[in-house]
């Protein structure tokens, strides 16, 4: 994303002009834009005009519209999960993968009138890449939103990884960028068990078919020619990854695809994972081969921090807390060492709720603790979301029950004081 202009005063009022460039920028915008914001972007609107004789005429007008956001919708057209159990036929077409697959739709009433559109008329803006968009926040830009803008505009952040998580007969193709994991394709080829009565040739035939399907899908879905692709990860339990790698190398050699065999030889990392499901990507990110290559990237760091949290939960339950109420109590006591928070919480439609989280983050940061913002488009973020979206590793052990009892006591005390005051007053 490019920052075209930023006019934000010290109180947070003002607007930001941004130019999104790829899928990930759409995700950033989705996280920045909230209900109630004023967004101005180019749009095409069908305008009907009635002439003096009463005949209607409609034409499309290209114009810029400012709308007050009432709904933001993000969709990344990854692979539909419904194909999971079906055989995807290896269609020979060499359809190039589209450059952007994510789409962002913002709808709401128009907030500034012009010649064609009346005030308050509804419109849905289709945000496109390379078209400038202006965002103005009604109740001001908070630190989290500004940090997000800054983060999204860092140039050259694209450390992309293409990963294939495969098992016997199944494979999921994933693209990992800083803030997103996209499952671009899944294949599933039925593999008969070797125990079947007519012998084992069926098994080998099916495996050969699986390798062929996987090769075709790989060529179409992993941008192996792109220089920004840092690594190609082949992850699987057992030895499927070896089989896949060898068959791909031979197939690429047979077809004379030099770029693919070069990319495979230079970039492939084979990682052992314990299951063939997409969620074992977390294991991929924890594996030493990947950590060594990508440790400065955001998604690797997220994986490491989440792992640390779970380990802490195992070792010392009193130093690993989760859930908004508990984390807030810990923050009040200045106990937080690392705060893990999901970006989903900041998308809360209720601005008051968002504010409380922003305050929490700011407070924790002021005390010198580390704050790790998880992207819910990554597997690690998904897992954090399942765990209420907020968690903390504490610097010293605190017992939840003791703290809760303290809170109750404090409240009692307060109530008693108030009662005493009212008594005094009366």
């Amino acid at each position: 994303m490019k920052l075209v202009g930023k006019h934000v005063d010290k109180n947070g009022a003002g607007h930001v002009n941004l130019r999104p460039e790829d899928d990930e920028d759409m995700w950033h915008l989705y996280n920045i834009i909230q209900q109630g914001d004023l967004v101005r972007a180019p749009a095409i609107r069908r305008v009907q005009s009635i002439s003096a004789t009463g005949s209607t005429e409609s034409h499309r007008v290209k114009l810029s519209l400012t709308i007050q956001v009432s709904r933001v919708e993000f969709s990344s057209s990854g692979a539909p999960s419904s194909s999971a159990d079906q055989t995807s036929s290896p269609a020979g077409s060499s359809a190039a993968a589209p450059t952007t697959t994510a789409a962002l739709h913002i709808s709401g009433p128009v907030a500034s009138e012009n010649r064609h559109v009346k005030m308050g008329a509804f419109h849905t803006l289709d945000i496109e890449s390379n078209r400038d968009i202006r965002i103005e926040k009604v109740d001001g830009w908070d630190s989290v939103a500004l940090a997000r803008v800054e983060e999204s505009c860092v140039p050259g952040r694209g450390a992309e990884v293409g990963a294939v998580v495969c098992g016997e007969g199944t494979a999921a193709f994933c693209l990992l960028s800083q803030h997103m994991t996209l499952v671009t394709h899944r294949i599933s080829v039925p593999i008969p068990r070797k125990a079947s009565a007519p012998g084992t040739s069926q098994y080998e035939k099916a495996m050969a078919r699986f390798y062929a399907t996987l090769y075709d899908a790989f060529v179409r879905h992993i941008p192996y020619t792109s220089p920004s692709l840092r690594a190609i990860v082949l992850a699987s339990p057992g030895w499927v990854r070896e089989g896949v790698f060898n068959s791909m190398i031979t197939e690429a050699g047979r077809r004379g695809d030099k770029t693919l065999s070069k990319a495979l030889r230079e970039k492939t990392v084979k990682v052992h994972v314990s299951s063939a499901h997409v969620h074992s990507l977390v294991e991929v990110l924890k594996s030493p081969e990947i950590v060594a290559q990508l440790k400065e990237t955001k998604f690797a760091r997220e994986g490491i921090v989440l792992d640390k949290f779970f380990k802490m939960l195992g070792v010392d339950e009193m130093r690993a807390w989760y859930g908004p109420d508990h984390v807030r109590l810990a923050a009040d006591r200045g106990a937080i060492g690392t705060l893990l928070i999901s970006d989903e919480l900041f998308r809360a439609s209720d601005p008051k709720l968002r504010k409380t989280y922003v305050e929490l983050v700011e407070g924790v940061q002021q005390k010198g603790a580390e704050v790790v913002m998880f992207s819910s488009m990554h597997e690690s973020g998904q897992q954090l979301n399942q765990l209420t979206g907020i968690a903390a590793i504490l610097t010293f052990p605190l017992d939840v029950e003791v703290v809760e009892a303290e809170e109750r006591e404090a409240r009692e005390e307060e109530r008693r004081q108030q009662e005493a005051e009212t008594l005094d007053g009366g």
Partner: protein
């Protein structure tokens, strides 16, 4: 048939089949020649079962092999399970079809310990088969010839295992121990060969076949509606698609129409094969192969369930279960992402709610809404299946066929794994949606 990797499961089974005349001399010679050519002559017996090229190259079993044999009183179907930890999903799929377990352990000093220590497959396999409802177990202490038929070694291993078996909930009356050597074929069917002379000095108990003969078949749910979870799909010789699996309830006849779940398809049973013999009907407890017609094989996948159209299996995406947490490092929290195993199917899922911890013995609620479940606890939890993608608004998860334990015992058992480790086992209580 279970045990740690390289304990000799496939070899034992290959030898047993040969001794009982199920493998002819010609195949044996071919296997022997082939394996010594590959420089792996010690695997010659296992080649009978490890049929695929990859299994033979690596010298390990990767998938379940199914063979049947007959002892004087019983028809026994043996499922040879892979011991390597990466293939536990396959092993679970096999163990879900078993009534009894034959545990093979390696007697060689250091090898037994490697398999039995924390992280070894001996423990995990035993816990798995127990959670899948198996209570009878025969322990075959293998490779005793390598330690000169040392009786004290045999006793030592038995002592260690006996304690663990009792602790895992196997009744001691239903467990038996037996010294064998699979490679030399000692004490499988008889002890007449010259190699057995040393063993015969201190051991005069039953042979392996005698023990297999004495196994008690458990009671079957014949009266309940027909259920068959598919563990394998393959193309039949002439027409139709072959599916195999163990019947978990009810009876099936040739000519019957069966519904395939999940999905909207149904098929007609053309043939039923049990132990390679065509039969007119089959009942709960048998490992049967059904040949189905009037269905596209694309609708039959491993893990689907066959049932009568009048009495279909409920489909579930969210359900409550009563689980026992195994010996784990990291505790289970709400939202933990897990893999759920149910017969031959494994699906990604999350533990969406920790409802209560229970007293292990009495089942009384000890604590409501616990924060975490640590090792050894028994608990009631809510499990929801996960949708396939991470991206965008969550697509709804694909339901799996499941039944409460109270309705059908075999259909109500689940296993939970995380990060390549089995973390708990349980039974389905209620299907929520």
């Amino acid at each position: 048939m279970t045990g740690h990797v390289d304990a000799g499961k496939s070899t034992l089974m290959g030898r047993l089949l040969y001794e009982l005349g199920r493998v002819d001399e010609k195949t044996r010679v071919a296997n022997e020649r082939g394996s010594s050519k590959a420089g792996k002559s010690s695997f010659s017996w296992a080649w009978e079962l490890d049929g695929t090229i990859e299994e033979r190259e690596r010298g390990i079993t990767m998938d379940i092999a199914l063979q049947s044999l007959s002892t004087p009183r019983r028809q026994v179907t043996i499922l040879d399970a892979p011991g390597h930890k990466d293939f536990i999903p396959n092993m679970i799929s096999g163990a879900a079809q078993a009534d009894c377990a034959l545990l093979v352990v390696d007697a060689i000093t250091g090898e037994f310990e490697a398999g039995f220590d924390r992280g070894g497959q001996t423990r995990e396999h035993l816990l798995l088969v127990r959670s899948l409802g198996v209570s009878q177990v025969i322990v075959a202490v293998n490779k005793l010839d390598q330690v000169n038929w040392d009786q004290s070694r045999f006793e030592e291993i038995c002592g260690l295992l006996r304690a663990f078996l009792v602790q895992s909930g196997f009744p001691s009356s239903k467990t038996s121990f037996i010294p064998v050597s699979a490679m030399l074929g000692v004490n499988l069917v008889n002890r007449t060969s010259a190699d057995a002379a040393v063993l015969s000095k201190w051991y005069n108990g039953p042979t392996l076949v005698d023990l297999l003969d004495e196994l008690e078949p458990p009671t079957r749910e014949i009266a309940s509606p027909f259920r068959l979870p598919i563990s394998n799909v393959f193309k039949g010789q002439s027409s139709g698609t072959g599916v195999t699996g163990r019947i978990c309830g009810g009876v099936v006849q040739v000519g019957e129409r069966l519904r395939v779940l999940p999905g909207d398809e149904s098929a007609v049973v053309r043939l039923i094969d049990v132990e390679e013999q065509s039969v007119p009907w089959a009942a709960a407890g048998t490992n049967a192969t059904l040949y189905l017609t009037s269905i596209d094989p694309i609708h039959l996948s491993i893990g689907s369930v066959l049932c009568p159209p009048s009495d279909i299996v409920p489909l579930a995406t969210v359900f409550t279960a009563r689980i026992i947490v195994f010996d784990i490092q990291l505790p289970i929290t709400t939202g933990a992402s897990i893999e759920l195993f149910h017969h031959s199917r494994d699906v990604p899922a999350t533990i969406s709610k920790l409802i209560a911890t229970l007293d292990r013995a009495s089942g009384v609620v000890t604590k409501k809404n616990p924060r975490v479940l640590t090792k050894g606890t028994s608990a009631e939890v809510e499990i929801s299946l996960r949708a396939g993608t991470l991206s965008g608004p969550a697509l709804s998860a694909r339901p799996i066929p499941l039944e409460a334990f109270s309705v059908n015992k075999d259909m109500g058992r689940i296993l939970v794994r995380r990060g390549g480790e089995t973390i708990s086992a349980g039974i389905v209580q209620n299907i929520i949606c």
